[in-house]
């Protein structure tokens, strides 16, 4: 009897800026069939859109090029396939850049890049609004027309279908724009096992597998509160791998000899992360019911996941829209013992008095005392009277760039003309940042047509 077939999907990147070594370690540390790389957070698309406006050949996650270089021998030599949403707002330029890598040129036809298109709704926004799609903000209900002239990017979250199509077409690297993070894991499983579009329980299982590994090592020992002191060797943390079977059950594990830990607790912590309503984890492919997930320890650094149920998806896709929303800056100074907290509070009063006198207008001004309850507020109780130091942290946000700029000039003077025992200003004047805010909306699935091209 032959062992049941298992498909291994390895997570090599949980966000843009994650550990550069992780993709290579995943393809060299043991057997894997797919390498899944997630680069896109909610506001990443708008950053990429700004880059594309400055240079039409940009607009994708450039870290991806280094990742591809580091795993190319495994892709062309051993048949490991890569699925990544690194394309951002310019997946075709991303594919061209991969092809232009030294290894990409050398590989020739051994490298087939599938590119998923169709998520970018920016060129179609006015047409869509005119056709009766209000793209109302899911949190506030306001129609997009309110901020239309400030929109920077608008992308529908695509599901697994176009990625499956690219894999079926022989791609060994699939580059998408705004796909759901979970589809990057589910699509390879759907492709390998031939799961039908109405096989809801298995599709939901693939989505849960994706949710568990989409944040990289956050399910294999990183940022794990349970038993954190005894989680071994985070310096060599092993990124997670899903070993899936055709019936939709899977094991979460990591390569032998790596650090971190995969346990029912580390996996459960990741399951509740940004989960929302556990009865209805909505994706373009399926609605997964997280209250059906069962976990069981299955040996060292192995957790078996089973029992998952799903049901038909909604008729909508989520749209991620980014718009310009003013400017902000954050200034900090550090006050030392004795009476560190009192000094920081006095400095805040002096600063606010000066801002008032200047007549600066902000939508929001927020003072926090880091070390004296900035993160837990009153729940932390009154600060100790003997704190060694307190960081004063003042943030402002408003529509006037000039007013925010003027605020940044009011921090350093406090060093010489405010309360004593102050330091920590070596970083210089605070930086003024443009605020790009997030506008989540829904759109009728039927108006979004994903497509796949090969390069």
């Amino acid at each position: 009897m032959t062992a049941p077939r298992v498909v291994r999907v390895a997570s090599g990147q949980g966000f843009w800026g994650d550990w550069l070594d992780a993709p290579r370690r995943q393809v060299t540390g043991g057997p894997v069939d797919y390498l899944m790389l997630d680069y896109l957070a909610e506001v990443t698309m708008s950053i990429l859109q700004k880059q594309k406006e400055r240079d039409p050949s940009l607009g994708y996650a450039r870290d991806f090029l280094g990742a591809v270089e580091s795993v190319l021998p495994a892709v062309t030599g051993r048949g490991v396939r890569v699925v990544a949403n690194a394309g951002g707002v310019n997946p075709q330029a991303c594919a061209a850049a991969v092809r232009a890598l030294p290894g990409g040129k050398e590989a020739g036809p051994a490298l087939r890049i599938g590119v998923v298109l169709g998520d970018d709704l920016l060129p179609r926004l006015d047409e869509l609004i005119a056709a009766g799609h209000p793209l109302a903000n899911m949190e506030t209900g306001e129609p997009l027309a309110t901020v239309r002239d400030r929109v920077l990017s608008a992308n529908a979250y695509l599901g697994s279908a176009p990625i499956v199509e690219a894999l079926a077409g022989g791609a060994n690297i699939v580059i998408t724009g705004r796909s759901t993070d979970t589809a990057l894991t589910m699509a390879p499983l759907r492709h390998e096992f031939g799961w039908a579009a109405d096989d809801y329980n298995r599709l939901a299982a693939g989505i849960v597998a994706g949710h568990i590994i989409e944040c990289g090592a956050q399910c294999s020992g990183g940022n794990c509160l349970y038993d954190w002191r005894d989680i071994p060797d985070l310096g060599e943390v092993g990124y997670p791998i899903v070993e899936a079977s055709a019936d939709g059950t899977f094991v979460v594990t990591k390569h032998p000899g790596t650090g971190g830990r995969v346990s029912t607790q580390s996996v459960a912590e990741q399951l509740v992360y940004e989960m929302g309503d556990p009865h209805a984890y909505i994706t373009p492919d399926v609605i997964a019911d997280f209250t059906t997930i069962r976990l069981a320890a299955d040996g060292a650094d192995r957790v078996r996941v089973y029992g998952i149920e799903g049901r038909p998806a909604t008729p909508s896709l989520k749209v991620s829209i980014a718009y310009r929303a003013g400017y902000k800056a954050v200034g900090t100074l550090v006050y030392a013992w004795p009476d560190a907290f009192d000094k920081a509070q006095l400095a805040d009063r002096v600063l606010r008095e000066r801002l008032d006198r200047l007549g600066l207008r902000f939508d929001r001004i927020l003072t926090e005392f880091v070390g004296a309850g900035a993160t837990h507020g009153a729940l932390a109780g009154p600060p100790s009277e003997d704190l060694p130091e307190v960081q004063l942290r003042v943030g402002v946000r408003g529509n006037s760039r000039a007013d925010v700029e003027r605020f940044t000039r009011e921090i350093a003077p406090l060093v010489l003309n405010g309360p004593p025992s102050v330091t920590g200003f070596a970083g210089g004047r605070p930086k003024v940042e443009e605020v790009v805010a997030y506008w989540p909306a829904l759109i009728d699935k039927r108006v979004v047509q994903p497509s796949v091209t090969f390069q």
Binding site: E139, A268, I293, L295, K328, A374, V435, V436
Partner: protein, 125 residues
């Protein structure tokens, strides 16, 4: 007996817009019933009173020994609008674990719950 959530649960939190998503998980399977019974929506809303501007929504996951809470209006506008150090709600998790609940002594004894440190003689609210 008074019991601190930190001693019977672990937790992870994150954001969805201006909402903090906080999941807490029983450290032992048999302790889930304590979470389910005593960590109520109202109790959590009172715990975060003054720190959030919106509603609290609570979900039960007996399959994971977990509860999931949505704390609306917890993140000063959320995302890039927020000026908070914890704009993404990453440490709201341990803020919830500060909560102290009252558990009947017989239940606490049966489940071997650890008593909250230094709080047994404190005045009950």
């Amino acid at each position: 007996m008074r019991v601190r959530l930190l001693d019977i649960a672990h937790a992870r939190s994150g954001d969805k817009g201006d909402t903090a998503n906080v999941g807490i998980l029983a450290l032992r399977p048999e302790w889930y019933e304590v979470l389910a019974q005593y960590v109520t929506r109202d109790r959590v809303a009172a715990h975060f009173s003054g720190l959030i501007t919106g509603d609290v929504v609570r979900f039960e996951l007996p399959n994971l020994g977990a509860l999931n809470f949505l704390l609306h209006g917890a993140l000063d506008g959320g995302g890039t609008l927020s000026l908070k150090t914890d704009a993404q709600g990453k440490v709201v998790s341990t803020a919830l674990l500060r909560m102290v609940i009252d558990v009947p002594d017989d239940l606490a004894a049966r489940l071997h719950l650890p008593p909250a440190p230094g709080l047994q003689s404190a005045t009950r609210r």
